[in-house]
Every structure is written in structure tokens, then in C-alpha cells.
């Protein structure tokens, strides 16, 4: 593709290795990001991607190996130095100052001054120019970025990187909090940046995106780069095989299930803002899916059902209990919920795996009112084994686990509390393929054993592959649940965007 120059490698890493004590995090990584190309970096969580990113961004120094930027050696000692050399990271957790405006964020650290005072005119002009370059000249630059949408904040972050003169852009899971139309726009933007001669490193679990935007790929497994090449030469299945080191076969298991009694019913439910009108019956022994766009009100529906949000009108009954109830009462009914916001709400990050796992079941665990740490750890251990949570011990801090393993802890909590009704909000968001497959198998097993699963997901193949019935939510209104076998992605999307069908 006759783009800039001879596709000279812009950023190259060779034989990068890094160990922490006895743990080998990186064990010889070669990587090459070329100007005018998008390189997809894929691998399971724990494969070493985040360590590699820290080396690349200067947050960690490698034990051995070398990096080059163009022809120059590249060994940044801090993220600020990497930034100054033109290597910018766009992180999963956005790194803007939420109270500052877009204009101030873009100019942060290099604010234009006239004498001693800020030159706000120049500051705003610079922001406009930077946003124009990423095709979003209309983005409001004078309000705190906390009030922008996640997609807009990401644009601001990319604009900031470009205005710093970045030549290498590294995006870590950039789409995990975006709606599908925002994802499409982001991918368009990346194609535009590629045409401007930037080198883009794109880290993602979503293989559809990888195939949509990448020119080449590098697979990381167990701290090593195990495969790389042009994207045209691989298919999804072989890419996944490289990632997990074996053929994964069918990723969505669906054993014969027999739906049983209705365990929960909502009728014309409306929350304070969302949902507006939702009716649904949840049965034992089935996986019921909730599809819809981000912000359609699916999370709010789950929260109302679980007692986290107030109910404005409508009927709820769960088992024998009619009317809204508190989360505490729901746990007592053996209803459990996994939040979509794992870090903010789902887990107490500074507590141990065991503490997180047993939080709702402490009462059952305690003797004479005391829940000793030992008893908590002992009762957590079998669930850690059962879900294959990779941690050093039940005492390890949850914050230190990878995303996939954190999610397993959040799920294990429901199993430890012996939940009959499981409300799962985006349970596989931002986790790797192998962990996803394990969670899918677990959901299938739970449904087969006669438990009820209500699954919210923005990832259609997952819903279609896993659910018995699917209902689509659009702007707060829930459509009827239909057998998954009668639905396809196109119909669901149409219904979700407010068209007809499904």
C-alpha cells in the first residue's frame, strides 16, 4: 500500500524481558510498529500486555532487550519522557483531568502564556486545531471534560497526544466503554491517522475490531511474542489458537436446558429516569438476554430489580416477595448481581480475594457473630479453585489480579452465596478470550442446573450464542423476549436503534 516512505519501522522492540522476583512477566518480546500502519497487539490477560505497555511508556525499565524509535535508541525513564519522544498511550481508564476543560487538558503542561498570565485565546485556538485534526472540531472545549461522553473524552485524549507531536499512538482496549456507533467512528479516526503516517498500536480483545482496522498483528502469550504477520493472512480462529496455545473449539456452549417456573416477574416497571416501561418473566433453567445500546436502560433495569435504584411505578415480584426490596433482602432471597463497573462498584479493590468473595455470605460464615479471617479464607478456597481464579492466595489483593480473574471473583461471590437468580451486567467486558470461554461455560452450567440467569451484554455474538431468549431494550422501553433461535444480529440491532423488528 503506497503509504509513507518504505514502511520503515517507527517503533521496534527486540528481546524485551522483565521479571518481578520469581515471576517472569516478559520473556523475549519482539514487536514492530510501522509508520502508516495499525498493529494489533492481542493476547490473553496475563500474557504480558500491560507490562509491555509499561515498558513502552517508560513506567518500567526492561531487564534486557532494546527499543528503537526510528533509528534512535529509545529508553524512556518516565511516561513524561515517552510522551516527549512522541510515544503516547491512550489508556483503558482515561487519563484526563476531569475538572479541567477540553482546551485545558489538551494544553496541559504546555499552556501558552503571555508574560506571566495564560493566553486563553491561544489556548482555545490550539485546542480547536487539535480537535479539527481528529475530525471533531465541533466538540465543546469550554466545559469540564467530566461532562463529556466517554467517546468524546477519548477524542480529547487522542487530540492531546497528536498536539504533542506524537508519532506512535498506543491504544489499550479503547472501545470497552463505547457504544457501537462510537466504535465505528473511532476506527474511522484511526484509519485517518494511519493515512497521516502515524504508527498505531491497537490492543483489543474484540477480534472484529482487530480485523476491521489492523494491517498487521502480533500475538503475545506467556510473556512472549508467539506470532506476527499481516492480518490478511489469518482468521479469527487461528488468532485465538495462537493466543491460548491450543484450539478452543466451540466457544459458546449450550447444553440442553429445560426452562422451568417463573421465578421473577416485572410488569410495566419504570425507574426515576430509566427504564421507562419494562415487562419481563425470568424462568429457572434459562439464560435470558437483554440487548440494547449503551444507555438504553438495561443496567437501570437490573439495578431496580435488585433494589439499588428506586422504582417509580410498575410491579416487581421475585419468588414469593412482591414489590421492591433492598439489596440485602435480595441476597436473602438468593438473588445476586454482578455489576458492569467492576472496578468502581463490583469489587472492593483494596480487599483480598477471600473478603470480596465472601462479603454477602459473611452471616452464614460467622460463628457466634465472628467471621474470622481464617474461616473466610477457608470458605473462599473451593470457589477460587472451582472458577480457576489465578491468584497467589485467598489473601491476595483483588486489585493485583488481571481483569478476567477479577471478574471471576465477582461471579464466584454469587456462587458462594448459592444464588438462584443471577443478574449479570456485562460479565465479560474487557476480559480475555480464555476467561470469557470459562465464564460462558459456567453460565451454561448454572442454567442447566436450574438457576435463572439474566444476562445484559452489548456483545451480540455472546447473547446469540448463550441465551435461550433475548429481549431488546430501546430508549428505556423493553421489547418482548423472543427465542434466540428466531433472532439475528441485524434484527436485534435494528430494534435496539429504535427501528422495528425483533
Amino acid at each position: 500500500m503506497g503509504r509513507m516512505g518504505e514502511n520503515l519501522p517507527r517503533l521496534s522492540m527486540q528481546g524485551i524481558a522483565k521479571r518481578f522476583g520469581a515471576t517472569v512477566a516478559l520473556d523475549g518480546v519482539d514487536l514492530e510498529a510501522r509508520a502508516g500502519e495499525v498493529l494489533a497487539l492481542v493476547g490473553e490477560n496475563g500474557a504480558g500486555k500491560s507490562t509491555l505497555m509499561k515498558v513502552l511508556s517508560g513506567a518500567l525499565a526492561p531487564d534486557s532487550g532494546s527499543m528503537k524509535l526510528g533509528e534512535e535508541p529509545y529508553a524512556p525513564r518516565s511516561p513524561a519522557e515517552a510522551h516527549a519522544r512522541g510515544v503516547a498511550m491512550i489508556y483503558q481508564e482515561l487519563s484526563l483531568a476531569p475538572h479541567l476543560t477540553a482546551a485545558e487538558n489538551i494544553a496541559l503542561g504546555r499552556e501558552p502564556v503571555r508574560g506571566l498570565l495564560l493566553d486563553s485565546q491561544a489556548l482555545r485556538e490550539r485546542a480547536r486545531a487539535a480537535l479539527e485534526r481528529v475530525g471533531h472540531a465541533d466538540l465543546p472545549i469550554d466545559i469540564p471534560v467530566a461532562r463529556l461522553s466517554p467517546a468524546e473524552r477519548q477524542i480529547v485524549e487522542i487530540a492531546r497526544a497528536l498536539s504533542l507531536g506524537s508519532r506512535v499512538l498506543v491504544l489499550d482496549e479503547p472501545t470497552s466503554s463505547l457504544s457501537s456507533s462510537d466504535v465505528a467512528r473511532l476506527l474511522d479516526l484511526l484509519r485517518g491517522l494511519r493515512a497521516q503516517g502515524l504508527a498505531v498500536v491497537y490492543i483489543s480483545h474484540v477480534l472484529e475490531e482487530v480485523f476491521a482496522v489492523a494491517d498487521r498483528y502480533t500475538v503475545l502469550r506467556d510473556g512472549r511474542s508467539v506470532a506476527s504477520g499481516p492480518i490478511a493472512g489469518v482468521d479469527a480462529r487461528s488468532l485465538v489458537a495462537h493466543m491460548v496455545g491450543r484450539d478452543v473449539g466451540e466457544i459458546y456452549p449450550r447444553s440442553a436446558r429445560s426452562p422451568g417456573d417463573v421465578v421473577a416477574r416485572i410488569e410495566n416497571l419504570a425507574g426515576v429516569r430509566l427504564p421507562r416501561a419494562a415487562s419481563l418473566e425470568i424462568r429457572r433453567g434459562e439464560v435470558l438476554g437483554l440487548a440494547g445500546l449503551v444507555g438504553a436502560g438495561r443496567t437501570e433495569l437490573l439495578r431496580a430489580l435488585f433494589g439499588l435504584d428506586p422504582v417509580l411505578r410498575g410491579e416487581i415480584s421475585v419468588l414469593a416477595l412482591r414489590g421492591p426490596a433492598s439489596p440485602r433482602a435480595r441476597w436473602a432471597q438468593r438473588v445476586g448481581m454482578v455489576s458492569e463497573d467492576r472496578q468502581g462498584e463490583g469489587l472492593a479493590l483494596s480487599l483480598s480475594v477471600a473478603d470480596n468473595l465472601c462479603l454477602p455470605s459473611l452471616r452464614a460464615l460467622s460463628r457466634a457473630g465472628l467471621a474470622t479471617p481464617r474461616a473466610v479464607e477457608r470458605s473462599a478456597a473451593p470457589w477460587i479453585d472451582r472458577l480457576r481464579v489465578r491468584c497467589r492466595s485467598p489473601r491476595e489483593q483483588v486489585a493485583l489480579l488481571s481483569g478476567g480473574n477479577q471478574q471471576k471473583v465477582a461471579l464466584a461471590r454469587l456462587l458462594a452465596a448459592d444464588c438462584d437468580i443471577l443478574l449479570l451486567d456485562e460479565p465479560t467486558r474487557g476480559i480475555d478470550v480464555a476467561a470469557k470461554a470459562e465464564i460462558y461455560a459456567l453460565i451454561d452450567e448454572l442454567a442447566r442446573a436450574g438457576r435463572a440467569v439474566l444476562l445484559v451484554s452489548s456483545y451480540l455474538p455472546e447473547l446469540l450464542g448463550l441465551c435461550d431468549r433475548i429481549a431488546v431494550m430501546s430508549r428505556g422501553r423493553l421489547g418482548p423476549a423472543r427465542p434466540a433461535a428466531d433472532l439475528d444480529a441485524h434484527g436485534i440491532l435494528l430494534a435496539a436503534t429504535g427501528g422495528e423488528a425483533a
Partner: protein, 358 residues
């Protein structure tokens, strides 16, 4: 829109409180002289609160304000007693604040060992040989600090803990400077113009009020319209982002605490003028009033939000309540309860406003 509401909140609160007391207490409250008095009563806490706003905006906190003010009055009074000019005495008070601030800043950014070595050197020298000994001790401490600083890595501490420590240590130091006694400047002539700052009569406004307004104007410009001010906001909003964007977080914080606590030093000069003596037990609990003023004025204790104007209004609101309650003949305990309720109410309203704007 949001910034208008943000500013209007504390202003409306102030107007409402004023109107309430005007209606209840009548003439003696609304008298022009009383307005001047209330402004004057705000000068000490208000000046310190301006500096605290800078600190709070950057995500920090200063619990040692009251102790620093007491220490400053002692430093100023001792300078006067030693026969130094009023200007030098005022400088001693302000410098004390800036020095305490620099020490706090050093510990917050992780230079606890160096700061500790300097302080220990000066203290031991002073106990051994008075002010001459202090200088020698300071030099010894500096040598030690240089040596130790190379060996010991940086160890950032939380400002809450650092200033909790300074709250006790600076109060103790203030008492030690005067052997547990107040220090009286030579009277009457020795204090010079320093004695007139807090006199309610003369001029359009008392000098102390002009000082408050000047400090506030300076800091408002500093916070809004300079690179340093924007960096303070950025650090309070998201420190790691600021670092990533090349902001020198450590240097900025040092300056934030130096300037911020320097305001407590200026407040101590006003307090010295008001008391006409250095008092090691003065301004107890001032730190909480200072923080309350900032919070009522819309500052967020988690950083990134706050304004000088808001803080001034917050400080004035508390004065109006104190003064109004006194005019109504209410007991001190009533004032304290009302002030406490207002703090909680202000933050509640602020939360509500945030939610409404979301």
C-alpha cells in the same frame, strides 16, 4: 451556567443569612460600623482561607493553620521585642508561614528525611545556643540532609497526616518560643503601624481588610490565569495525568504549600496586630474554620474544584452568623451549632446542584 450557579450558591447563602439577622437583630446589625466590623472579623480567617483554597484545589489539606498562625504571632512579637522594625516583624510572621509551608510541602512530596534533618538541626542548635546556635544547627542539618537525601528514596506522605503532625508540632514550637508565655512587644511606640492594621476606624476600610482583598485578588489571578494555577487544578483533578503531561508535580506542590501556608503567615501578622502580642494559644481551631470557608465556597476536598471568591463568601457567611448571633444575645454554643449546620447544609446543596446539572 454552572459557574454562575457555583458562584451564586455561596452568595445567596450569605445574602439569606444577612437578611435573616437584619430582620431579627435590626439596627445594631445593619449599622454601617457593624459591616466594617464584620469585614474586619473576617480578615484573619479569610486570608488564611485564601491560601487553603489553593492547597485544597490541588488535592491537599492543611490542618495546621491555627498552629501556624500562633507561631507567626510569636515570631513577629519576638522580632518586635528584639527592637526590629514593624516591617521586619511582619516579614518574620509571613516568613514563618512560608517556611512551615515549605516544610509541609517537602514532606508531602516525599522529602521527609531532608526536612526532618533541617528541622532537627535547627532545633537542637537553638536549644543549645539560642539564635546563633540555631543557624549553626541549621547548617549541620543541611549537611546531614544532603547526605541522607542521597541514601533515602523519596517517600511521599499524605498531607492529612503531615499537617496533623505539624498541627501539634507548630503549636508546641509556639509555646516553646515564649516558654509557655505570651510575648509582648515593647509598648507603646515599638509596634508602629503594625498596631493599626486591625483598628475598626479610619479610611474607607480597615487596613487588614485591604490586605485580605489584595491577597485574595492576587491568588484569584494566580489560580485562574497562570500556568501554575492551572497545574494546581490539574494535580488536584488527576495527579497522574498532570505528571504524564510533563507537569513538575513535586515543584508545583512545594510552591502550593509554600504560598498557601504563607497566607497563614500573613494572617498571623493580622492576628498579631489584633492581639498586640504573640500568643502561643491563639487561633485554636482556626484550621477548621478555614477549611469550612473553602468548602462552603464550593471547594471539593477531593481536589480540582474551588474558587477564591467562593471561599471569601464562605468566610463572610461564618462571620455574619457569629456576629448576628452575638447581636441577638445568643450564647456561644448556639453560634457553634449554627455554623456546624451551615457547613453540612452548604455541602448538601452543592451535591444537589451537581446532581441537577448532571
Amino acid at each position: 451556567m454552572r459557574s454562575i450557579l457555583r458562584r451564586a450558591g455561596p452568595a445567596l447563602g450569605l445574602i439569606a443569612a444577612w437578611a435573616l439577622f437584619a430582620a431579627l437583630a435590626g439596627g445594631s446589625f445593619v449599622a454601617l460600623a457593624n459591616q466594617r466590623l464584620m469585614l474586619l472579623q473576617t480578615a484573619v480567617v479569610g486570608t488564611a482561607a485564601v491560601g487553603a483554597t489553593l492547597i485544597i484545589v490541588s488535592g491537599g489539606i492543611d490542618l495546621s493553620v491555627g498552629s501556624t498562625i500562633a507561631l507567626g504571632t510569636m515570631a513577629g512579637a519576638i522580632a518586635l521585642r528584639a527592637g526590629l522594625s514593624p516591617a521586619l516583624a511582619a516579614l518574620a510572621g509571613v516568613g514563618t508561614g512560608a517556611l512551615v509551608g515549605a516544610a509541609i510541602g517537602a514532606m508531602v512530596v516525599g522529602e521527609v528525611v531532608r526536612a526532618g534533618a533541617l528541622a532537627a538541626g535547627a532545633f537542637v542548635g537553638w536549644r543549645a545556643g539560642g539564635s546563633g546556635g540555631a543557624v549553626v544547627g541549621l547548617a549541620a542539618g543541611a549537611t546531614l540532609a544532603l547526605a541522607a537525601g542521597r541514601l533515602v528514596p523519596r517517600l511521599p506522605l499524605s498531607p492529612f497526616i503531615v499537617t496533623l503532625g505539624m498541627w501539634g508540632a507548630m503549636r508546641g514550637l509556639a509555646k516553646g518560643l515564649g516558654d509557655n508565655q505570651p510575648v509582648y512587644p515593647p509598648s507603646p511606640g515599638g509596634t508602629g503601624w503594625l498596631a493599626d492594621l486591625m483598628l475598626p476606624s479610619g479610611g474607607i476600610l480597615p487596613a487588614g481588610v485591604w490586605i485580605l482583598l489584595a491577597v485574595a485578588a492576587l491568588f484569584a489571578v494566580l489560580l485562574r490565569h497562570t500556568r501554575f494555577g492551572r497545574h494546581a487544578f490539574a494535580i488536584g483533578s488527576n495527579q497522574e495525568t498532570a505528571r504524564l503531561c510533563g507537569v513538575d508535580v513535586e515543584r508545583t506542590k512545594l510552591l502550593v504549600y509554600g504560598l498557601g501556608v504563607g497566607c497563614a503567615g500573613i494572617a498571623s501578622v493580622l492576628q498579631l496586630s489584633y492581639l498586640s502580642m504573640g500568643d502561643p494559644t491563639t487561633a485554636q481551631g482556626a484550621e477548621l474554620k478555614v477549611i469550612a470557608a473553602a468548602v462552603i465556597g464550593g471547594a471539593s476536598l477531593s481536589g480540582g474544584e474551588g474558587s477564591i471568591l467562593g471561599t471569601l463568601l464562605g468566610a463572610l457567611l461564618m462571620t455574619v452568623v457569629d456576629n448576628g448571633c452575638t447581636k441577638l444575645g445568643l450564647d456561644n454554643w448556639v453560634q457553634e451549632c449554627v455554623t456546624g449546620a451551615i457547613i453540612v447544609l452548604a455541602v448538601t446543596l452543592d451535591r444537589l446542584r451537581h446532581r441537577a446539572l448532571k
